[in-house]
């Protein structure tokens, strides 16, 4: 699955807006994830997951920074996220199904914050992009 030039452009355009409130959108995406899919909380027994918690905000930030790196290096996501890919494969070992769940929640947050920008084409581009990111993060699992 490769992104077309138009899709890359759509991802980058929306990202410039999302980046202005990346931390909030990151935290909200995680909140959506833990509310809709409580089983995902099992990866965070060491966290305070209450709404607005510092850890939630911190982690949301981390996730969105990584997404930002992928956007900045959209022609070489594999290179940009190589370290994260190893981290997920050898240390975190988050089950692959969860990447789809988090991607879905990020899409919900972006749609809720930027409704007029979130056209079907933009939705498709972002779905593909997050899919690529997820692929890279799970590709060293076995």
């Amino acid at each position: 699955m490769t992104l077309t030039q138009a899709e890359k452009a759509a991802v980058i355009t929306i990202w410039t807006k999302v980046a202005t409130q990346a931390d909030a959108i990151g935290a909200e995406s995680l909140e959506r994830l833990f509310s809709s899919y409580p089983q995902t909380k099992t990866y965070f027994p060491h966290f305070d997951l209450s709404q607005g918690s510092a850890q939630l905000r911190g982690h949301g930030s981390k996730v969105m920074n990584a997404v930002g790196e992928a956007v900045k290096n959209i022609d070489d996501i594999r290179g940009a996220l190589a370290k994260l890919s190893e981290l997920h494969a050898y240390i975190l070992r988050v089950d692959p199904v969860n990447f789809k769940l988090l991607s879905h929640c990020i899409l919900c947050s972006v749609a809720a914050h930027y409704p007029s920008d979130f056209t079907p084409e933009v939705h498709a581009a972002w779905d593909k992009f997050l899919s690529s990111v997820s692929s890279v993060l799970t590709e060293k699992y076995r």
Binding site: E28, E31, R32, F34, S35, S36, Y37, H104, C105, L107, C108, S109, A111, A112, H113, P115, F118, T119, P120, E121, H123, A124, D127
Partner: protein
């Protein structure tokens, strides 16, 4: 769904022009079908205590006549959630989404229930 997951177009050969996002968005058959599907969701909301019975005939139809892989119900459910997020923005809180994820999940389950 037809734009984001183009392979789902396989079920809609009779819809005519689905060749581009613009074509899909402007296609009257797509619009009419969207209305049908959402009305069906309305029935679900009205019959939350008895979804399997409510969807019994539709489930048989999707299996025996339409031959739709139930995975598509999950895909459409998730798309619906995202569309709701875009329409209701701030009101579509994480708690609201969680409830709707449950609803689309049980509807998908009811639709797949009569498969054999």
């Amino acid at each position: 769904m037809l734009i984001v997951y183009p392979w789902t177009q396989r079920f809609f050969d009779s819809f005519g022009n689905l060749s581009s996002p613009t074509a899909i968005i402007g296609n009257p058959k797509v619009r009419a079908h969207g209305k049908k599907v959402l009305s069906s969701f309305g029935e679900a909301v009205k019959n939350l205590e008895n979804l399997k019975a409510t969807y019994s005939k539709l489930s048989e139809l999707h299996c025996e006549k339409l031959h739709v892989d139930p995975e598509n119900f999950r895909l459409l459910g998730d798309i619906l959630v995202i569309v709701l997020a875009a329409h209701f923005t701030k009101d579509f809180t994480p708690a609201c989404q969680a409830t709707w994820q449950k609803l689309v999940g049980v509807v998908a389950h009811a639709l797949a229930y009569k498969y054999h």
